[in-house]
């Protein structure tokens, strides 16, 4: 029904553009606050300006060992992540089927979750070569998350489907492939997203405390040692960017996995 008002159409920006715009404005705002704070303090050693950090960032990128340093740090965290994810998955399956294994792991998981990561790093430094400390710490961060999530997924496997697989005499391989793995896949994907971010941060912390050769952590440590605040922040920016990159990558992978499995999971509950 015509109500006398002019029919006006408001052109809205597409959602990704709005998100990008909002993010850019917010980032600019924070960089502005940072610049003002740096100007107010006026001492580069305490708080370098965004411009000097940016300059330093370009300098360190041009250094010949930059990519090697980044690559080695990434390999360490990925190594720990993959080992943690594999053993988390395996441990969860064993715990689901064998109660003694679940009982055995329970205190370990609780202790790992409750203990500060710095304690583990300092203990690990005494036990293993510094190159492997970040790998071990990544593993330690990833394992309980993947283990816990996958175990929850297994415990939530549809009992009716378990019974059906029993009735149709599924082999262990068939049960794993067609029942349990698809059931835990969303739980595993979520765990990986959470665990990777944590593993990355913990791994860098481990590199700092164990002064791992050819690592971002070592660069952070040396920058701090030589009071190179701009370089310290430049490397921190590298860590943040890599963290965002890795998180985005794993999110894309997880979304693709979920896309493939979503329609398969959304059961008709009617």
């Amino acid at each position: 029904m015509y109500n006398g008002q002019k029919n006006t159409k408001i052109k809205l920006l597409p959602k990704p553009a709005v998100i990008a715009l909002t993010a850019s404005v917010t980032a600019a705002l924070w960089v502005g606050i940072w610049a003002i704070a740096a100007f107010a303090i006026g001492i580069e050693l305490i708080l370098p300006s965004p411009l000097s950090v940016l300059k330093k960032l370009f300098e360190i990128i041009k250094e010949k060992d930059f990519f090697i340093t980044v690559l080695f740090s990434l390999l360490r965290v990925l190594g720990g992540f993959l080992i943690g994810a594999f053993f988390g998955l395996l441990g969860a399956f064993l715990s689901y089927f064998l109660l003694p294994v679940k009982i055995f792991f329970a205190p370990l998981i609780k202790v790992v979750r409750a203990t500060p990561v710095a304690s583990f790093i300092l203990i690990a430094v005494l036990w293993i070569p510094s190159t492997f400390v970040p790998v071990f710490i990544s593993f330690l961060m990833v394992f309980p998350i993947v283990y816990g999530n996958v175990l929850t997924g297994l415990e939530n496997t549809d009992i009716l489907l378990i019974e059906a697989s029993k009735m149709y005499r599924f082999s262990v391989r068939k049960k794993t492939m067609f029942l349990y793995l698809p059931s835990v896949l969303p739980y595993f994907a979520s765990a990986c997203i959470t665990a990777l971010g944590l593993a990355w941060k913990s791994s860098v912390a481990a590199e700092v405390l164990s002064v791992t050769k050819k690592s971002i952590g070592e660069k952070l440590f040396l920058s701090n040692l030589y009071l190179e605040s701009a370089e310290l922040l430049a490397w921190t920016v590298v860590v943040i960017l890599l963290s965002i990159g890795m998180e985005s990558l794993i999110k894309i992978i997880a979304i693709q996995i979920k896309k493939i499995t979503r329609r398969r999971y959304e059961r008709d509950k009617s």
């Binding site: 009716l160 019974e163 499995t261 398969r264 959304e266 008709d268």
Partner: protein, 192 residues
């Protein structure tokens, strides 16, 4: 005469008696319909015959070494598998895909093979469930309300397919409408 023999079967759940000293005999190779009021224990009886439940008392014989296929009251399709994958998954046969396609065709599900359970209607899911049970095969075919959610046309078709594939097999079906099976020779086991 060979068959499944039950003597004084008793089963209770949480203090509620579901089956109380039930005895019966089901002849091998015949169609037996189990009828009775809702909640009287028909499904429990099927679960005992299939081995999914153990009776509290009494014994059941004639099931030793028999392969049993069970069409559950719920369709219990694997949500991450397509209709045809749901059927094939219960078989280790080399030609399982071809057999599954034939079954789907017989049940008027030709175009639905690659659909996932959430994309199928209730009636379609039921027919996929029937196809899966027939694919699994076995000596004893247990059907719990096989035509739930099917319209009369699909019910007739499904019945025909089931009986065609289960010739000379022991078929035990729980149904609220024994009339559906009137064209096939059958025995009735009434639980009261």
């Amino acid at each position: 005469m060979n068959g499944i023999k039950a003597e004084n079967l008793c089963k209770s759940f949480g203090g509620k008696t579901v089956l109380d000293r039930l005895s019966f005999f089901i002849e091998y190779g015949k169609l037996t319909l189990i009828v009775g009021q809702s909640g009287i224990g028909k499904t429990t009886l099927l679960r005992i015959i299939s081995g999914l439940e153990k009776p509290d008392h009494g014994k059941i014989t004639g099931l030793e070494g028999k392969k049993i296929a069970f069409l559950f009251q719920e369709d219990r399709l694997f949500p991450w598998l397509s209709a045809i994958e749901n059927i094939c998954v219960v078989s280790n046969d080399k030609n399982k895909k071809k057999t599954a396609s034939i079954l789907l065709s017989e049940l008027s599900l030709d175009g639905e093979a690659d659909k996932f359970p959430n994309e199928l209607s209730g009636g379609m899911s039921r027919r996929v469930g029937i196809a899966r049970t027939l694919m699994y095969g076995g000596d004893i075919i247990i059907l719990d309300e096989p035509f739930r959610g099917l319209d009369s046309e699909n019910e007739k078709k499904a019945l025909h397919v089931i009986m065609d594939h289960c010739k000379d097999k022991t078929v035990i079906a729980v149904t609220h409408d024994a009339g559906s099976f009137e064209n096939y020779s059958h025995s009735i086991l009434k639980i009261s």
